[in-house]
């Protein structure tokens, strides 16, 4: 096989390698599972860093659920004005 033939063969092999995946078909219709949430996962509120928050007085450790819960509880209790006006 001459040089031009080798180049043509290489080009053809490359075209097949690159072109064929384009013929593949991705699943375009969601298969629903009845009664199961189908959407994207959501992050937990305690996973975010307090420093990313605007104007918050709550303090907790990012990723620590217990500290977040205690921060929210402190905030929650401030809704009871009997604690503030004694």
């Amino acid at each position: 096989m001459n040089k031009a033939g080798k180049v043509a063969l290489a080009c053809a092999a490359l075209a097949v390698a690159v072109g064929l995946p384009a013929c593949g078909e991705r699943e375009q219709v969601i298969v629903y599972k009845q009664g199961k949430y189908q959407g994207k996962p959501d992050a937990k509120p305690w996973e975010s860093d307090p420093s990313a928050s605007l104007y918050t007085s709550s303090k907790w450790t990012a990723g620590d659920k217990t500290s977040w819960e205690s921060a929210v509880k402190t905030r929650n209790l401030s809704q009871n004005e009997y604690n503030r006006v004694q």
Partner: protein, 207 residues
């Protein structure tokens, strides 16, 4: 922590609509969509007029979740019922199922085009990266991820609307009822969190 709930004290609500305004402002809710509203009964009747602030109650056994044909609803660990707007097809089944009229649909166009459902998120955002622009654009503010509680409850001037851990707000309410000696009815709790005979609500709760 038990789970997040709303509680509206009808003895205290003065129909100021501060909660509605706070919600609109915090979440930049579009015109025509009301995640929260104040309902008044016996308007103008002296001694019988009562107002309550109503939004999604994030029910224990949420009917919207049950009827959604594309299963776009989910419940977080804190008991907040949220949905994925990328999946919602705007069919409106949830609107018919909800006993509180919480699901809202943006209307646009001349032929009653109905957009994707929008509702109160308990200021917990949605299934996008927390505190991101995408989350804010689709679902509004994520105050829980900032260690805060819903803006409506925190802004309530008479503290009629309480929002947060169910046990904590029930305790606050119980203390209040004992002090004033009346008005123990917690409207909507029986419907949202279980029947009174199932002991899912404080003493005296009505659905």
């Amino acid at each position: 922590m038990a789970r997040m709930k709303f509680l509206c004290d009808a003895e205290r609500c003065i129909e100021c609509n501060g909660c509605v305004t706070a919600c609109k402002n915090e979440n930049e809710v579009p015109w025509g969509v009301n995640r929260r509203r104040v309902v008044t009964i016996n308007d103008g009747v002296v001694g019988a007029e009562k107002s309550i602030s109503v939004a999604c109650m994030h029910c224990s056994d949420a009917p919207c979740m049950a009827v959604c044909p594309v299963d776009c609803f989910y419940r977080t660990e804190e008991g907040v019922v949220l949905h994925d707007k990328d999946l919602c097809i705007g069919c409106g089944y949830c609107f018919y199922a909800c006993p509180f009229g919480a699901p809202q649909f943006p209307q646009a166009g001349a032929f009653g085009l109905r957009g994707k459902m929008d509702k109160c998120t308990f200021c917990a955002g949605g299934p996008e990266k927390d505190l991101s622009k995408e989350e804010f654009a689709k679902y509004g503010s994520n105050r829980l991820a900032q260690g805060k509680l819903p803006a409506c409850a925190e802004m309530c001037s008479t503290k009629a609307l309480l929002g947060g851990d169910g046990d904590v707000i029930a305790d606050i309410y119980r203390q209040r009822v004992l002090k004033r000696g009346k008005g123990s009815e917690v409207w909507g709790w029986g419907t949202a969190y279980g029947k009174p005979e199932q002991k899912a609500s404080p003493a005296g709760a009505k659905s």
